[in-house]
Symmetry: D2
Subunit: 346 residues, 4 copies
């Protein structure tokens, strides 16, 4: 059994890690930390875990947590992972960071968009951005896993087959993304208040969302050239789910069937990515609670553009599930282990 520690276990990505890991056949949660609930039983914070996870939350002491665990998941917001990663390196144990601190090769990009200083430039070379369907070969030797952001996961899986083939203009990509409220976490904010969100949709962060440079850097690696996107996120009255709608200019005269074939080539062997059957467009509920990504691609003959729609559960494939997928790869387990729970519909 892999012994797992979770730093920041009482946020929504933390509790999702607990949900997934509590049913994982080869992993066991041995330490969970929290800022504000030290000393309390986990199921007193999350009563849904009554009878499932009743361990006591401990203080956020990386040294102590690494000493008990074979791997540590870091489920705090960005800006706190560097010292934890250093502790992991010193104890020779890997960290999987669900925040943004290890997602960028260039710390200047991070600092520009996140508005905080990055104090770990020296260890950045030891970190890898790990989205298994794109670069699973790089994961096993990694000491620091930069677990992808939720929006970027949906976008990168959605556009890679086209960019890899050079079929779309990398400077003319329009991304319209929609997220459920859990993406903003459990912290209290007016923007997450039920009455402000319910029965309503809004746009936010236009032109400034921090997932923009992550998308551009990763898509750029896939395309082999610079990628520039417009990324507009929206908040939808639902708990979980991300749907990204991507519109791009076709630079090759490909048919709808060729487009579908490209996606089949990319994903037919992937257990967590499904190209939906022709004419069916994705719905976030269809991946609810699962590690699945559903995709549809559609050529628009009138405009010569291609529209790609992808959906994921932001807390699973967009966060905790993908992190466990990376853990499986790190430890040489079957990649799908503990991640085969079907989506819950309705």
């Amino acid at each position: 059994m892999i012994k797992v520690g979770i730093i920041g276990a009482t946020g929504y990505t933390g509790v999702e890690l607990v949900r997934i890991l509590s049913a994982h056949p080869e992993a066991e949660v041995v330490a969970m930390s929290s800022h504000s609930h030290v000393g309390k039983a986990f199921h007193h914070i999350y009563p849904d875990k009554t009878g499932i996870m009743e361990d006591v939350l401990e203080a956020q002491d990386p040294s102590m947590i690494f000493s008990k665990a074979d791997v540590v998941f870091m489920a705090l917001p960005h800006g706190h992972a560097v010292p934890v990663a250093r502790e992991g390196l010193s104890q020779g144990k890997p960290i999987i960071d669900l925040g943004a601190d290890f997602r960028f090769k260039d710390k200047a990009v991070y600092e520009q968009w996140y508005k905080v200083e990055h104090t770990g430039e020296d260890i950045l070379p030891m970190a890898h951005y790990c989205l298994p369907e794109i670069n699973r070969d790089e994961v096993p030797g990694t000491r620091i896993v930069g677990n992808p952001g939720c929006y970027p996961t949906s976008v990168i899986l959605g556009l890679s087959p086209l960019l890899r083939r050079g079929w779309i203009d990398p400077k003319r990509i329009i991304i319209d993304a929609k997220s459920g409220v859990s993406g903003a976490g459990r912290k209290m904010a007016l923007g997450s208040h039920f009455c402000e969100v319910n029965d309503s949709i809004k746009a936010y962060g236009i032109g400034t969302h921090r997932h923009t440079p992550e998308i551009e850097e990763q898509l750029g690696k896939v395309a082999g050239q610079e990628v520039l996107v417009n990324f507009t996120p929206h908040l939808v009255p639902m708990t979980r789910g991300i749907l990204s709608t991507m519109v791009a200019d076709l630079t090759e005269d490909v048919t709808q069937e060729q487009l579908r074939e490209a996606y089949r080539e990319s994903y037919d062997a992937e257990p967590f990515v499904q190209l939906l059957h022709e004419g069916t467009f994705p719905s976030t509920k269809w991946v609810y609670g699962s590690n699945q990504c559903h995709i549809q691609v559609q050529k628009d003959e009138r405009t010569g553009r291609v529209i790609v729609v992808s959906v994921i559960d932001n807390l699973v494939k967009g966060a905790a599930g993908q992190a466990v997928q990376n853990m499986n790869l790190l430890f040489g387990l079957e990649e799908t282990m503990g991640l085969t729970m079907p989506p819950m519909f309705p």
Copy 2:
């Protein structure tokens, strides 16, 4: 008092007309028809109207309804308005059609997208597409009002200030639109079943939605040249509301402040269109139940594009409210009469 008839009073646009007209100081509903509820009291179909509208529904006999009314609202789906309009012409009374039958100048476009024959080519010249903020001068003499579609209303109000000034490329407009479920009407369909919609967002009708040609025709008139758009609609788990996110290439080197000034010029005198203060992006709940349209415009310096977000209540400014606004113009009343109810928030 203007005597009003409503054909198709028990659909969602019909009941919204009843809500608005029951509080209109110069109008009175004198006849309401229904396919399936003839002979029943209106409040037995809509118990929310108990004590407010308890009249009995009659059969859909246009001749009878026009004989009682000064104006008839046609709230049936497309394909049924031509004979009703002929009856109105013969009795010398105007019709306001909330369906699509009189929205196109060219019947071939209608037939291509709606897949039904248009049997009223001869009376099309008497019809006008009436979106007051764009062409209110044309309304008063009209005998047949083609009331705009819900998505097009949000898009046309959102993009007209830019197209009128020639600031964006009319062939490179990407529209990502999101609608509440009431846009699909009260008819029973799996796609409107609570469990299929709740806590989920989905895309639909990619490249094929019938509002596409309506948007292109009307924006083309504003731009003075052909307009080509990608239009992708989505279904959001909310009852009312449309949010349209529009991305376009700037063809002029305008600043963010010039963009805002353009919208102020267009809409400062408009009672039903509000440019939100800088940095605030629209939310559909902020116009819930009102005839308001909220807009925000944002330049993206990185990509040289402009993003416009607009919201309306699809049943009010997107249907029944705009129809009453047109009625007010037709009868020489104050344009805002009966339409000043504030949005309901929260």
Copy 3:
């Protein structure tokens, strides 16, 4: 025009007062105060009010506010109304308190349930609990209006016809009540976080909810004897609305038709209370945004009990709408003035 001041204008009952009063033909909001938003324009806090209410929020200085206003609505939580009421008395102007400070005749009951000291025992005799359908005659001369709580409004309207006739056992009343989230206000709390509420229902405050003694005191006055209730509230994933389900033992052998007749007698002349037609049970959406209360009564022959279901919009008939109704009575206006907006359905 009645000049109105609102203390606590940026809470949900405050903004609802603004919505209603902005459309009231004989009232005008002249002063609005806030704890945390002093100096800001109202529509910057509530963008839905753009173009509708753009006045600047001022500090909560009762003396200043009463000096401008003919009447002051107090829309803060309990515990703050006594000094404001004293200021009103000193300036000879009425206060309508939407909190609980003036709802009880006996300060000991208030202190026991609300766990704070009541510092205004001397002015309690000048206060009246004003639920117009029950005691509208007492309103006009009142200087301090204790505006009823939301749950109690639905319950008192629901049970009064039976208790007044002595048809049910006053010691055996079981009340199961369900509220939308706006009842908890705009303050940030985990219990109002979208992800904790959405797609879920929960019970809370079992046996301890503060509306219990208010219900018992007021029903006791109607019954002419002591009333004892079990009151169990629930939180429902909806923004507005209260539904109360009340079960009581019939002490008389009355028929279903006699039960309905009793409600008709009580409410046929009431503009804001509707007995639904036989077999139709209330739905909160049917009163959404309106000052209406819908009621159904049903005898259960098997058990000899009667079930009453009532619904209101907690922010309107359960708070701001009822407060304006009381204002109309205080100032000798038509009781329904500014309150005839129909419910919004769907």
Copy 4:
């Protein structure tokens, strides 16, 4: 591997059986039937099952289905199970009926409440009502499993500890129950239309709901005497979940601690029933997607009554999960096999 057939696989209980069984280590779905989708692949009806269940739906031919399967789940509405059960008896294989046809010992009660004739009086003695926590010993030899209704499951688990001890008056039980919309199934009905349900709660079936006699019969067996209840169901704007609030008169002078001790005695060894810690009241989302039942019990000193609140996921513990639990018992498997998925929160 147990070979499983599902009759009525495309309804909501059917698809939930597919979800659960597709992850069950000792069961395999070998046949699925449907009325209206014969010949279609399952994931074309439920795209969420893409990559998970892509078998083709067959006609509802019980003989054929039993010939392939070791056990058949019957997931059609009531009124269709008798001939299927006969076929199972003839082939010597058990049936688990998720409808109501085998829930009653007395066919007259069934016929009175369900308004259809029961044609299987002769095989009723071979059927058992199987709620494992109450009567798991009776399951193994059963040929026909009457799987409990959703509301009754929540109520029976909630009240049994009190009735078994004779602590409450069996003739004075008031049950107020709230269900998500999936309880009404996937069939299209105005009452399940998103816009009629969203942001609203309503009561229905007052005094007439068919789960009433099921509750009374089963609680009567537990109590050893006749039980009479008032049962009032409500529809809540959520997809899954049932919350039952039960109020009863205490007939013994027991303390709050004794009440809790009674529940601990009943349920401490039960893997699927959790007594929440003191002061925490159940929320349906806390059992979402799981086979768990959460319960809280609270004495109300003022009235001498006890309030019990229980929650389940209506599609899991209230239907498909409990059915699989019964299958496990029938086949001598670990009772929890395939049912340990944690609830999904948020």
